[in-house]
Symmetry: C2
Subunit: 111 residues, 2 copies
DNA sequence: AATATTTATCGTTTTTGTACGATAAAAGAA
DNA sequence: TTCTTTTATCGTACAAAAACGATAAATATT
């Protein structure tokens, strides 16, 4: 079977992996940049900038939203997205923490 | 077509995405933890700890290696892996940098 | 009311990821 | 040399991701 075994790992590991997965595509990193640069974070603007079809961009936005990294509000016929800084910072901190925790544990390199 | 369009993005975006992808599975995060905890980072030890088949672990190790996050030395019939701290720190810094750059750019939230 | 604009969702195709067993390769032990 | 141990790789199967066009839903505009 090729059923993923994500359940077999700790919640923290799962959460961090999910966060990393959300950033694991250049389009989604590009989207975050656009959201930070433009005050008007309208879906259409993102579509104009990225070299992807509208439906594909919408899909990436959905993934970022499900990961908690962005929020989206309906504004008439448009959708306005922006970065969820709280969540973003939390994950950034957890990631840094992993790095430093690992480094502290490392007694001495073996190879 | 469903051919990924990674080439259409900047190198920095691609690199960061590749780094994130390497961490986008709980097993690979777990492997990094084991590598940091044990001085003897033998493949077999990792296999014992993880709930995955030997071939699957070997595959994950390969991905981490290709991402540059770990180094692997052959030691007789065994393989000894350890974290490449230089690469790890570099990516950690770039990731933090992205976060702070985004945050500085954010003039005011719009939604 | 009819039309246009905007975006989410559906359906589909292709590619990549995840997982395993089986086997090959390499080195140590008998 | 033969056998055992260890790990990488191959082949395979299924799952999930990435991409697109088409369409539906919601709201403005005329």
């Amino acid at each position: 079977m090729a059923t993923p075994k994500t359940e077999a790992f700790s919640k923290k590991e799962q959460d961090l992996a999910a966060f990393a997965k959300a950033l694991a595509h250049p389009a989604r990193i590009a989207i975050l940049k656009v959201l930070a640069q433009n005050n008007e974070c309208i879906c259409g603007e993102i579509v104009e900038v990225l070299p992807l079809a509208q439906s594909t961009v919408s899909q990436h936005l959905k993934e970022l939203k499900e990961a908690g990294l962005i929020d989206g509000n309906v504004d008439g016929p448009r959708s306005c997205y922006c970065i969820n800084w709280k969540a973003f910072e939390k994950f950034n901190a957890e990631f840094s923490s992993l790095f430093h925790k690992l480094k502290d544990q490392q007694a001495k390199s073996c190879c």
